[in-house]
């Protein structure tokens, strides 16, 4: 591939992974954290912030809703009509003849367009009233979270007079940047063959032409990069505690440093059995193994539980938030931070939730793997999804086309990480906080021995079966 194309592809990949983390996961997790907690705690949640809507809109909300449903019904009718036409063989094999939005269209194309329109309008109508609270547009409380962020940013940025000004400003950057850098080695999709975007690929064999692996960098040190970069986050917390010139912050920084160093060890050892099974350190090859065999969580459930625990401890969230310990050491290592710097710590936390969810999805839930969906199309128990020769040939043609499969797989990956993040948020609202020494005991006396035993058992298993 030419260098220019390579550069373009890389820029697109980097912006995708950063965009997903910053624009999708971070806001969605912030919103989920607030909505989920409001739901389990029987309160209305973040509904105060919002944009005041004109009375006309609020009064006619029901009309708008009916309009959406009406639109859905209309599109549904047209969809059924087009489907009936295809049923009788009036559809042609292609989606659209040349002028797409012009007069010349096919019943196949009509079927797809109106089916999609009907499918979009029904949830739109259902969701519409929930976007408003009283006379304000709140978007499920999402605007409240947004306004909170704006408020935090526009507050006065106080640096304690006795603090080390340079380190104090550096610490939040060190805490946040590694969390974003982790995304670099995460494979978020299969290899994209640019030359065959709209064709069905063969399930086996090599494919020529330009190929773009959907991963920013496939480093040969693989997952070790995650530990190396993730470990840098410790410096951010320790530095903040050290430079704040506050004893509570110092205690928090020390707690954070020792806890994160300890759990770094656990984090590495808990997934050694996976390396042994997958026979690789490369994340893309790990996913490929899971595509070929089964998901990691099926073969290594213990490793999954241990790794999930260790990763929650690594990004210092409840029940492992002793470094913050809001009730005893106020806010721990970022006690003295205000305004944008404080926001950077909060964002770093959510970025870490996002990246660790993505990592868990890659390691244990097959990454971008979707069951029954291979490179060559949908296939279950030996039956391929193939309707060629019937009037419905276009359906399987679209569903099995390369670009559609890649899109579904990327979507599946994003969704898996989202669900894992929600799991960690639910844990956050259910459990109380460990004490600092209990966290360390859990690490060295529970997780570490269990991880070692897990390695031993996996080793014996591999020796006996000779995988």
């Amino acid at each position: 591939m030419e260098f220019g194309w390579f550069l373009l592809a890389t820029v697109l990949k980097v912006s995708f992974i950063l965009g997903v983390t910053v624009l999708l996961y971070a806001p969605v997790f912030v919103l989920f954290e607030r909505r989920q907690s409001a739901m389990v705690q029987d309160r209305i949640g973040p509904m105060m912030g919002g944009v005041k809507m004109p009375r006309l809109v609020i009064d006619h909300l029901q009309t708008l809703q009916m309009g959406a449903f009406g639109m859905a019904a209309l599109c549904g009718l047209l969809f059924l009509f087009a489907t009936a036409q295809v049923w009788q063989g009036n559809g042609t094999e292609v989606l659209f003849t040349e002028p797409v939005l012009g007069v010349r269209h096919t019943w196949n194309g009509m079927m797809f367009v109106f089916g999609a329109l009907a499918a979009v309008h029904v949830p739109l109508g259902v969701v519409l009233p929930y976007l408003f609270h009283h006379d304000r547009l709140t978007i499920f409380g999402g605007l409240h979270a947004l306004f909170d962020a704006i408020k935090a940013f526009t507050k006065e940025d106080v640096v304690p007079p006795e603090a080390d000004k340079f380190l104090f400003s550096l610490a939040p950057i060190i805490a946040m940047v590694p969390a974003l850098m982790l995304g670099a080695v995460i494979p978020f999709g299969p290899t994209l063959y640019v030359d065959y975007l709209f064709e069905q690929l063969p399930a086996e064999g090599t494919i020529g032409g330009a190929a773009i692996p959907l991963q920013v960098a496939s480093l040969n040190i693989g997952i070790l990069y995650m530990f190396a970069v993730g470990g840098a986050g410790i410096i951010g917390a320790a530095l903040a505690g050290y430079s704040s010139n506050n004893k509570f912050a110092l205690i928090g920084g020390l707690r954070a440093a020792s806890q994160m160093v300890s759990y770094e060890v656990c984090l590495g050892l808990t997934i050694v059995p996976l390396f042994m099974l997958y026979d690789s350190l490369l994340l893309d090859e790990m996913v490929q193994w899971q595509v070929d065999h089964v998901w990691g969580v099926v073969v290594q459930p213990i490793a999954f539980v241990l790794f999930l625990t260790a990763s929650i401890a690594e990004y210092k969230r409840v029940p492992f938030d002793a470094p913050e310990g809001e009730s005893e050491i106020v806010a721990g290592f970022f006690l003295e931070y205000s305004s944008g710097k404080w926001l950077m710590y909060m964002l770093a936390e959510f970025f870490e939730v996002a990246t660790s969810s993505m990592l868990i999805a890659v390691l244990f839930f097959g990454g971008w793997d979707v069951p029954f969906l291979g490179r060559g199309g949908w296939e279950a128990f030996g039956y391929a999804f193939d309707l060629s020769g019937t009037h419905w040939a276009i359906l399987s043609e679209v569903a099995n086309s390369h670009v559609f499969i890649v899109a579904v797989q990327i979507g599946a990956f994003v969704l898996k990480a989202l669900l894992l993040g929600m799991l960690s948020i639910q844990i956050r609202w259910t459990l109380p906080r460990f004490r600092y020494d209990q966290i360390m005991q859990l690490c060295w006396r529970m997780i570490l021995p269990l991880a070692l035993v897990n390695i031993l058992v996996t080793g014996i298993f591999i020796l006996l079966t000779g995988i």
């Binding site: 205690i251 005893e328 459990l431 109380p432 460990f434 209990q438």
Partner: protein, 405 residues
């Protein structure tokens, strides 16, 4: 505070010289309620020494009482333990009635008992849920606060105020029970029970919570007694001292209830004793509601004590004069002194009152249960870790208004 470490370094050791860290917690610290300062000597995270300094909320309660009439003490008494103000109101009313030899009608006593136990439930709910919240379990806190709000709705319906009711009166209550008093109480009790079960199911099977509570903040039985600790904190050490049983006042003789006791005197026992006391209070309330007459006077029938009805004040000369005398001079309590003690939310709430025969108290001394409980706190905490301060201090239920007066 004495230093516990050696001033002189030993030349033969290779270890770096290490000094304990002295750290100030409070008064502006989320766990210190804004009213307490703790000066700690820390070795790592372990508390080597601790100095608890109360007094940041001292408002001169006792002195303030000496400048108004006896009736004007009630708003001050509200602000002692502001989590269960009704118990303070009734406690002070009982003290004055004891000194003046006033007997209140039977209906009033039942009414006081119901409202008092109601206040005790809200007090224990607040304390226990706040303990859980300070450990990071935010969800049960909001559940308990939700049900406490429903109970406050009833108190508001009865008294007109959610927190500081000022509802007690010498020789009666400010108002008779409202029409739907009994129904609304009986309607809310099952909901309290439900939330209790829900909270217990979330916390008591949780290993993290148990590890944070069990064996932490221990206080021995003898030490507790010698510090003068009372209430749930004392009962958690195994002493079954409850004023309601030990020296029954009002009609506590006539109702059937148990005094829950613990045996370790740790955080978990205090937590459990409070939860069990909520159940016992509900039992008492049900019995009281069954026994309380639906009609009859609430105030004692004595124009020298009870304010006349407003129609009499505006309509008759006797009423006007009685009203004037009671408001301007106050209730004449015969000269003498007495100590009256009741079971408050945190323990034995005593009022030692001295009267010189005028309408103004000569001296009102309050025995705040929190203050004595707080004394035991230092012994509970030494040797534990910084993070243990939070649940231990929470389970003491130190209320600034009562402790500092």
């Amino acid at each position: 505070m004495e230093t516990f470490y050696e001033e002189h370094e030993d030349e033969h050791t290779l270890e770096l010289p290490a000094e304990p860290m002295r750290i100030n917690m409070g008064p502006s610290h989320p766990a210190m309620h804004g009213t307490i300062r703790m000066v700690m000597e820390l070795d790592g995270e372990t508390i080597m020494d601790l100095d608890i300094q109360p007094g940041y909320l001292h408002r001169g309660f006792e002195k303030s009482c000496e400048r108004g009439t006896w009736s004007q003490v009630f708003p001050y008494a509200d602000r002692l333990n502001y989590v269960s103000p009704m118990l303070n109101n009734v406690g002070f009313a009982l003290a004055v009635e004891k000194l003046a030899g006033i007997k209140v009608p039977e209906r009033c006593t039942w009414y006081r008992m119901i409202l008092g136990e109601f206040a005790r439930i809200t007090d224990h709910l607040t304390c226990n849920s706040a303990t859980a919240m300070e450990l990071g379990a935010f969800t049960p806190f909001l559940w308990c606060i939700k049900v406490r709000d429903w109970m406050w709705d009833i108190l508001e319906q009865e008294t007109g105020a959610r927190m500081t009711h000022s509802f007690g009166r010498i020789g009666g209550m400010a108002q008779p029970p409202t029409e739907h008093f009994k129904e609304s109480i009986l309607a809310v009790l099952p909901q309290v029970d439900e939330v209790l079960l829900e909270t217990e199911s979330l916390l008591l099977k949780n290993r993290i919570f148990l590890d944070r509570m069990q064996g932490i903040g221990k206080l021995g039985r003898e030490r507790a007694l010698s510090w003068g600790v009372t209430g749930p904190v004392l009962r958690s050490t195994g002493v079954d001292y409850d004023v309601r049983k030990a020296s029954p006042y009002m009609f506590y003789k006539d109702v059937d209830f148990d005094v829950p006791v613990g045996h370790d005197g740790d955080n978990y026992d205090r937590f459990m004793v409070r939860f069990e006391e909520i159940r016992q209070s509900m039992k008492i309330i049900r019995q009281c509601i069954a026994k309380m007459p639906d009609s009859g006077p609430v105030d004692t029938d004595d124009p020298r004590i009870i304010l006349p009805a407003k129609s009499d004040v505006y309509g008759t000369i006797e009423g006007t004069i009685a009203h004037f005398k009671l408001v301007m001079e106050g209730i004449k309590v015969p000269a003498g002194e007495c100590y009256s003690y009741t079971e408050g939310g945190n323990g034995e709430l005593g009022f030692y009152i001295v009267s010189d025969g005028t309408g103004t108290p000569y001296r009102v001394r309050c025995r705040p249960p929190c203050f004595y409980n707080l004394q035991g706190c230092r012994e509970m905490l030494i040797g534990d870790m910084v993070a243990d301060i939070v649940p231990t201090f929470g389970s003491i239920n130190m209320i600034g208004g009562e402790c500092d007066r």
